[in-house]
Amino acid sequence: MQEHQDDFSMVFEGAAGQGVQTITSLLLPVLRKSGHHVFSCMEYMSRIRGGSNSTEIRLTGKPRRTYVSRIDLLLSLTPRAYERLHERLHEHTLIFAEEEKFGTHWDSRCIETPLGRFANEAGGAVYSNVSAVGVVLAVLGIPLERCTDYLRAQFAGKGEEVVERNIRAAQLGYEFGIQLPADRRPKLPEPAHENQRDSLMMDGTSALGIGAIAAGCNFICSYPMSPGTGVLTFLAARAKGFGIIVDQAEDEIAAINAGLGASYAGAKSMVTTSGGGFDLMQEGMSLAGMIETPIVVHIGQRPGPATGLPTRTEQGDLDLALHAGHGEFARAIFAPGTLIEAIETMQRAFDTAQRYQIPVVVLSDQYLLDAVSTIRVDEIKRLPAKPGIVETGKEYKRYAFTESGLTPRGVPGFGAGIVRVDSDEHDEEGLITESFEMRRRMMEKRLARLQTLRNEALRPTVIGNPDTAEIITVCWGSNRGVLEEALERLDDNRVAGLHFAQLWPLVRDTAGLLGNGRKKIIVIENNAQGQFANLLHRESGIDVSRRILKATGEPFSVEEIVEKLTEIAHGQST
């Protein structure tokens, strides 16, 4: 069990409604307080009760931002755990379960753990999960008190009895755990003992929400759709404090049109959705392009087509985002890969939308949105946001021609001028035109900004040393964490990595970054066709020699990427 020295992974499995997420949310703060680096993610079915969901918590010697396939400790509440997870178990995995519920695959790795009994003793079946927390703490050698305080705080609102039952349930589990023999008590990574107050723990959704607030977002209108809804509820919870107007639309078409109406009137507005909802926003995207009105659109990707797998992850909507909306207009697309990037690119998205008067897409996915990790407070940047609007004079023309194609943006009710926007082709004043010459000039005006946008594009993050490497592995969005860790494990200086957090426009010297055709390019993405690989090829002219793709609804594990890259690197050297 040498691996456990700096990396210990625990998985908690149970049916929807059994409170598996509560296990994680109780354990995470306690584990952090014990000085461990933590990463956590979850996978769940599209149902409210039943089925089989699981969460993973990794305890690591240094900060990590991805999951491992390998399970060192499994705590299972349903008979479906074995079938769903058995490939991820190894010979030393500790399995905590009740034989009766676990089913036929009971073996020497399993530890009969009467959670049901503890729960009943504490006050009812709902407490099983809290008993599980007790067991885990004991096994990990963490004092129960660290958790009981937390339980007390958490459940205070529900009355003393509930608090007591929770604590009792935890105690029963804990007492069971500390009596287990030493070989059932894993070695954990050395706690980092870093100053708690220097770092924050959150999921991707929160990071995007924080970014939006930092950017001054004050309007969000959206229709619920997993996994995009989280950003809506994040902002709704903080709406009062930050003066954000939150409106749940009747459908996604209304959402983006309301967003544009608000933006026209001076709001910093955004919408959040997933691929299917974004389909319905296409015409709105096109409108944003035509009326040169800023809007930020967050797409939390999940597997399509159609309803697909509503609670799973995918990176299948890049092509759609690139080409969304009929006709031609400028846009930008960001795809953060870490919490810091999420906070930063969301700010950048607002700033870009405002300054360039265009729609900007932020592409995330279920994996990134739900995964919890930590960031250092001092890494969180607030970008300066230029005021997007000007006071109008009497002769104000919303689409006056300028060299850059950008006209200072006025809003109605601010200044002596009037502000007209029109979805038809229009003249400088924003009135319908049928002049071909005006059309030509307005098309040029709207597209000219693509040049400056491209000059400002974010450079990809470099992993390892691409100059000396023979193979460059490229990824985008949520795959940054897994590529970083896989390259670290691979520890082969022939292989380097690039992570793109801006997908459109791409930086000018993308071809150079890819070695101008002198290196082998591998692209990793969570879709079936290699959408980013196509874009890279199209934009840089560089051939992509290998695509590592996965569109099952699951994210890549570190092991998977290591295996694929090893194979390729090995092929390279022979």
């Binding site: 924050l200 924080i210 607030i213 209108c221 107007i245 608000a262 979805s423």
Partner: protein
């Protein structure tokens, strides 16, 4: 702005794309009359429309304009009102735009009851796309698509609005500019979602519902009509012998969405950046 007396007037060389004889001209006149009389400042008025012949109306007024997508005027109007409740927002669009493509927004705008005025130019046809049936087309009208005649029940905007307790529901007729103007004035003055369906003959494509037809098929609301009685209003809205004109229903008791949602008086464009303190305080919650 050009002259304090005629603040909404466009330059005289403005090319109005409507056909001669079309009811749209009269509606525009009525709207301008109402705006003039209300002494609204053009800078604080936004006209919102979708796409269609009717939806061109805001192009012919010197005023802030959001001429959005076909069917999508209402959500845009919502966004505008929420971002700046000091603006007077008037939506002017066609029957196809508001009740066809935009039908869902019509329902939910009424539910929200935000403070706008909806003026529907109801010509019972799709004008701009050259004469297909609209939601309000009467049965049996033949068109190049409805070759056997329309066989759907006409959409009843007033009844639908009443069914959702829209607080101001009225019908007007372009042939009666004075009444139309006065109803529109009332509607704009009204705090909440005010709906005015205006019968507007399309002289080119609608050969069934002509000026003459509208004159013959409209009447005043009965004298005893009580606009505070929703069921009575519904009864009038159900009529199809003649279509009554006037204010069917008026309910001063519904609070507006802006008030219920606590939208402040200061428009969003005046908002200052989030302070470092507030930002840090939020971050603290993730410790």
């Amino acid at each position: 702005m050009d002259s304090p007396l005629e603040p909404f007037v466009m330059p005289s060389d403005t090319d109005v794309a409507w056909c001669p004889g079309c009811g749209n001209h009269m509606v525009l006149k009525a709207v301008r009359g109402a705006l003039d009389e209300l002494k609204i400042e053009p800078e604080n008025l936004v006209m919102v429309s979708g796409i269609g012949q009717a939806a061109k109306a805001p192009q012919y007024l010197k005023v802030n304009m959001f001429n959005g997508l076909h069917g999508r005027a209402l959500p845009a109007a919502l966004g505008i009102r929420l971002a700046n409740r000091n603006l007077t927002v008037v939506v002017e669009s066609g029957d196809g735009d508001l009740y066809g493509e935009g039908g869902n927004h019509f329902l939910h705008a009424i539910r929200r009851n935000f403070d706008i005025t909806i003026i529907a130019h109801d010509n019972m046809i799709y004008g701009l796309t050259k004469g297909q049936a609209s939601p309000t087309s009467q049965r049996c009208m033949k068109t190049p698509v409805q070759v056997g005649g329309v066989n759907l029940e006409p959409f009843n905007p007033l009844a639908v609005a009443l069914s959702l307790d829209a607080p101001f529901v009225a019908r007007a007729f372009a042939g009666n500019i004075e009444q139309t103007r006065s109803i529109i004035m009332e509607a704009i003055r009204f705090k909440g979602c005010a709906i005015v369906d205006v019968f507007q003959p399309c002289v080119v494509f609608n050969k069934m519902n002509t000026w003459q037809w509208f004159r013959e098929h409209t009447c005043e609301l009965p004298e005893k009509h009580d606009p505070s009685d929703r069921l009575m209003a519904m009864q009038q809205a159900f009529r199809s012998d003649k279509f009554p004109l006037g204010i069917f229903y008026r309910n001063e008791n519904r609070e507006t969405y802006e008030d219920l949602a606590g939208i402040g008086a200061s428009p969003l464009f005046r908002q200052t950046p989030v302070s470092d303190e507030a930002f840090s305080a939020m971050l603290e919650t993730f410790l």
